[in-house]
C-alpha cells in the first residue's frame, strides 16, 4: 500500500481547442477539450492539465468555459496554466472548477505573487511551473547548469532553476512542474538530471515534463528523475499510446500506479 505515481496528460488549449506545440512552434489542431478530457479520464488519467496558449486577451475567456465544462463532468484534479498573472486570474480559474493553477512567467516577474496566491488560496493549489534550458555541461566539459526561460522560451532570465525551486517552495508553491525546453517536443525523454536535482532539493512533489517519446521515458522520469508525477501531451494526444498502456508499463517497472 503506497502512494501512486501520477500520469498527467497535458492539453494545450488555444481559443478553446486542444493543440500541441512541438518545441512551441509547429502546432497541430487535435480536438475538443471536453472530448479529450473524457477520453483521458476513462483511460485512467490521474489528473489533467490545461495549458492555455491563447495569445489574445479576448480569446482567453474561452479557457474559463473549457474548465467549467470539464469540471462539471470529470471528477479528477484539474490544473490550469498559461496567462495566470493576477490574484483575480487565480480566483477565476478556481471558481470555474480548477483545483490548481500553474504560475510561470508571472512568478519570475513578481515572486511575491506566488506568496500572495498561496496565502490566499492555499499551497495545495499553487503549482510553480519552470521552463529551463541547459546552458552548461551539455556540449562542453563544464559542470551542468540550467537557466529559466520565459515567454515560450524566448527570454532568458539568468535564474538558476534549482535555487528558484527552493525559493518558490519557501514562498508557498505546493508542487513544481519542471519542463526541459531542450527536450520539449523532441521525444528523447525528460531531462532526468534536472528533474532529479530539483526533486531531491525540495519537499514538495515534482512533475517531470518535456520530451516524452515512449513509455520507457515515463518510467525513467520516476525511477531516474525522482519525479512524483509525469506529464505528457503528444504521445497520448495522437493516440500513440493509451494512458492505460502507459500505466501498465510503468507498473511493470516496479512503479506504484493506480491501475
Amino acid at each position: 500500500m503506497a502512494l501512486a505515481k501520477r500520469i498527467i496528460p497535458c492539453l494545450d488549449v488555444d481559443k478553446g481547442r486542444v493543440v500541441k506545440g512541438v518545441q512551441f512552434v509547429d502546432i497541430r489542431d487535435a480536438g475538443d477539450p471536453v472530448e479529450v478530457a473524457r477520453r483521458y479520464n476513462s483511460e485512467g488519467a490521474d489528473e489533467l492539465t490545461f495549458l492555455d496558449i491563447t495569445a489574445t486577451h479576448e480569446g482567453r475567456d474561452t479557457i474559463v468555459y473549457v474548465v467549467e465544462q470539464v469540471a462539471g463532468e470529470i471528477f479528477i484534479p484539474l490544473t490550469v496554466g498559461g496567462g495566470i498573472r493576477t490574484i483575480n486570474d487565480v480566483r477565476m480559474m478556481l471558481n470555474a472548477g480548477a483545483d490548481k493553477v500553474a504560475i510561470n512567467s508571472a512568478a519570475v516577474a513578481n515572486p511575491e505573487f506566488v506568496r500572495e496566491a498561496a496565502e490566499k488560496f492555499g499551497n495545495q493549489c499553487i503549482v510553480l511551473a519552470i521552463d529551463a534550458k541547459q546552458v552548461a555541461g551539455k556540449t562542453d566539459d563544464l559542470p551542468p547548469r540550467w537557466e529559466i526561460f520565459t515567454h515560450g522560451g524566448r527570454k532568458a532570465t539568468g535564474i538558476d532553476p534549482i535555487e528558484w525551486s527552493k525559493k518558490m517552495v519557501s514562498y508557498g508553491a505546493g508542487e513544481l512542474l519542471v519542463t526541459s525546453m531542450d527536450n520539449d517536443g523532441v521525444k528523447n525523454g525528460f531531462d532526468l538530471l534536472l528533474t532529479r536535482t530539483i526533486s531531491d532539493s525540495v519537499a514538495v512533489p515534482v512533475i517531470a515534463s518535456g520530451g516524452v517519446g515512449n513509455l520507457d521515458h515515463l518510467a525513467e522520469g520516476v525511477i531516474e528523475g525522482h519525479a512524483d508525477a509525469v506529464l505528457a501531451a503528444s504521445i497520448f494526444h495522437f493516440a500513440e499510446y493509451s494512458i492505460a498502456e502507459a500505466k501498465r508499463h510503468m507498473a511493470s517497472k516496479g512503479i506504484e500506479m493506480r491501475l
Binding site: A2, L3, R6, N41, F75, N95, R258
Partner: protein
C-alpha cells in the same frame, strides 16, 4: 460507469459554504452521484437546519477555516447537524471535527470527535522502499492517489472495493483519541487514519469529489445513508 444507488426520493444535501475553497466540484459530483438529490451550497443556518443531510467540505488552513465558521456564526449549526443527521466531513472538514489541530501554531477545533490533528514529519520515508529509493524522503503534501483500507463495514463503503485508491492532498492528518472511530486508513510513511465513522457522522481525509468513480460511489452511498451506524455490531 454505473453507480449503485437505490434512492430515487428527493433528498436535500446542504454543502456548507463558508468561503473555504471552491465547492463547484463537490456540488457537481453530488449531482452526478444522484440526479434526484437537491444540492444546496449554503451558509444559511435555516437551510442547514432544514436539510436532510449536510456536508462540511474545505481546503486551506485550519485557522481560516474555524475563523470563517465563527465569523459566519455557523459553529452551532454545524454542531447541531453533526448531532442529528447524516453528516460528511471532507479534508479540512474532517480535521475541523477533531478537538485540536497543530496547524497555525495550534487551533482549537469543533471537538465533535475527540482527537488531534498532526503534521507529517519532514523526515518520512517509505517503509517498503528498497535500495536507493529507501533514501528518499516522502514528499509533503501527501498528494495523489493512495489506497484506503476499510477498517470497518459501513454503509458509506458499500460497493467500494477494499484498498481502493482515492485522491489526497494534505500535510496534516487526524489522530483520534481512541481507535474506535477509525473507518479507513492508508500508509504514508506510517499508518494514517483517513476516514472516521461515529454514529451519524462520516469523514474522509481524501477528496471524493476528485476521486473519479470511487468518489462518486461514496457520494451516492452518503445520499442513500439513513445515518445509522452502530460500531458495536462490527466484527
Amino acid at each position: 460507469m454505473t453507480l449503485s444507488t437505490h434512492s430515487t426520493l428527493s433528498s436535500t444535501v446542504a454543502v456548507i459554504d463558508y468561503g473555504m475553497g471552491n465547492l463547484h466540484s463537490v456540488a457537481k459530483a453530488l449531482e452526478h452521484a444522484n440526479a434526484h438529490a437537491k444540492i444546496l451550497l449554503t451558509s444559511d443556518k435555516q437551510q442547514i437546519a432544514n436539510a436532510d443531510r449536510v456536508i462540511l467540505p474545505g481546503v486551506g488552513s485550519i485557522r481560516d477555516c474555524i475563523g470563517e465558521m465563527e465569523r459566519l456564526d455557523l459553529v452551532d449549526s454545524i454542531k447541531q447537524a453533526a448531532a442529528t443527521k447524516p453528516f460528511l466531513g471532507i479534508c479540512i472538514g474532517m480535521q475541523a471535527l477533531m478537538t485540536h489541530s497543530a496547524e497555525n501554531e495550534g487551533v482549537n477545533c469543533l471537538d465533535i470527535i475527540p482527537g488531534e490533528v498532526e503534521r507529517f514529519s519532514d523526515q518520512l520515508s517509505d517503509p517498503l522502499a528498497r535500495g536507493a529509493a529507501a533514501d528518499h524522503h516522502l514528499k509533503i503534501p501527501h498528494m495523489g492517489w493512495n489506497q484506503v483500507n476499510q477498517q470497518i463495514k459501513h454503509p458509506l463503503w458499500q460497493n467500494i472495493t477494499q484498498n481502493q485508491r482515492f485522491y489526497f492532498v494534505h500535510s496534516y492528518f487526524v489522530v483520534p483519541q481512541s481507535p474506535e472511530p477509525i473507518a479507513g486508513s492508508t500508509i504514508y510513511g506510517h499508518p494514517v487514519c483517513v476516514a472516521l465513522a461515529q454514529e451519524n457522522i462520516f469523514a474522509t481525509q481524501f477528496h471524493p469529489e476528485k476521486s473519479s468513480d470511487a468518489g462518486l460511489q461514496l457520494f451516492a452511498n452518503f445520499i442513500d445513508w439513513d445515518g445509522t451506524y452502530n460500531a458495536s455490531t462490527n466484527c
